[in-house]
Symmetry: C2
Subunit: 323 residues, 2 copies
Amino acid sequence: MRFATLPDGSPDGRLHLVSRDNTRCIPAEGVQTLLALMDDWDAHAPALEAQYAALNAGGGAPFDAAAARAPLPRAWQWLDGSAYDSHGDLMQKVFGLDPNPRGRPLMYQGMSDRFYGGTDDIPLPSEEDGIDFEGEFGVICDSVPMGSTPAEAAARIRLVVQINDWSLRRLAPIEMKTGFGWIQAKPACSVAPVALTPGELGDAWRDARVDLPLTVALNGAPFGHAEGYPMSYGFDELLAHAAQSRDLVAGTVLGSGTVSNDDYREVGSSCLAERRAIELLDEGAPRTPFMRFGDRVTIECRSRDRAPLFGTIDQMVIKGGRT
Amino acid sequence: MRFATLPDGSPDGRLHLVSRDNTRCIPAEGVQTLLALMDDWDAHAPALEAQYAALNAGGGAPFDAAAARAPLPRAWQWLDGSAYDSHGDLMQKVFGLDPNPRGRPLMYQGMSDRFYGGTDDIPLPSEEDGIDFEGEFGVICDSVPMGSTPAEAAARIRLVVQINDWSLRRLAPIEMKTGFGWIQAKPACSVAPVALTPGELGDAWRDARVDLPLTVALNGAPFGHAEGYPMSYGFDELLAHAAQSRDLVAGTVLGSGTVSNDDYREVGSSCLAERRAIELLDEGAPRTPFMRFGDRVTIECRSRDRAPLFGTIDQMVIKGGRT
């Protein structure tokens, strides 16, 4: 199944089913919002599957992806991993920090009360903060009881999403050095318009990972196309890590961290900080600037045969906050 | 005003007003839950003030604090400071980490999808994790726009609460060293039954701080009575710090961090780790064990003339998770 949330004036929007080609949609029957669906997935899924099959046969209204909100405009929990080692290693180098330890997943808890839609403008307080995007994948899970194994957690993954984890790089190392994680350096994320059940990915959902490239462009110029598969921990392991001492609430959104590959000089990057780190290594100093107000980032993932999946994140940063 | 949430089978419970002596209560008129009240405080407050005045004059049902849930059983955001320097310094010593930097508040984002009630048993996976309590104060704010000043943020503080921030100390330094903050080391917090408007504290609400001692007992034995006032940053400054690059959603819960004073050898502590750090300094090794399943902690704050305020946190840790 494919889901999107269209605006209806309510905080959580109106849940829609989207056809397999992302061209048509219909309001979900029997459940108003994705938040409500996540609370009772098993009860609603059979009727929605039937409605989805009918939609794929025809009917529905045109799906305007640019009008969609984030599939979950707010959630009770947002946890973000950093499961691509090449990204983590480059970040530590550019921040002047010790190498990350191996052997345990890296993860922080971020703000979940707002997820921007894929085409929303992003208001941020200052260009001086080092404005950066982070292209990544994520999952939305059903409840995961404390102490669940990776296999048990895998069975609770309901949806796969594509995320832009906005980051303020000049604040990030200051907050990291406290050990407390990020508050100021991690404003609200954006989520691409369409959330997919893992089955929609076919063979590209493999070992609880998305085996597809994430294509990133900055102001229209190609920036990266790193592969999603090489996570050092799959979403199953990340969920089990998170559930070690807590029950994960239904509707928890969990991210992969910035998609990154070891051959980053060939495939490019999914964030500016990583490219700057590579420039630091190769040329002695970062050359690529952080984003300015008015800059745009585009992030997309299609199937190997170029069929649409999550839709496109295509958004601009603007001046926000009180002046 | 004083508020408590009583169980009614729903996720967010039923909001009640509680009389000034914490003995009687009545369902809040016009608003079902504290989550809903926080979404529209200004619209509901006048009628609730009138209802509260009438309740204080008489009537209502007996208030059973032990049956109450957390005032907000779940929230969209939980941010916890560490605003008592003596606590932070002792923690860094015992964890073997560098001293915390001064000049910026310390803060992490924790899980907000569940707050335990003040008398709930606390299920945790293992006694080996270093089970600890953390007695602290907190506020619940109305929306705070990005870039708000401390004075602007102070005007958005609606309620004051008393919190037990459960912590797993053997996991904490492992997670801190990543710079990502805590996931496993910070399970769900508990909140004392009664949430107060700042006015209920009278002169004890001073400089956006609670100028009262927090009394902690472990298995019935006195453990600490540190004063709440000596925060290096008030709740106004902590909120403004949090709102630097994000709008704070209405109903954000923000904590002070473990209440701690410089004369900790006289007033005791509000968590085990701090006492263990003092023992390490004074005796060369920690002597006080972490909590075992079946241990109880009691945390209370009364007015200087011993009138009840938040009610009592009195709870036991038990074995949780899958076995």
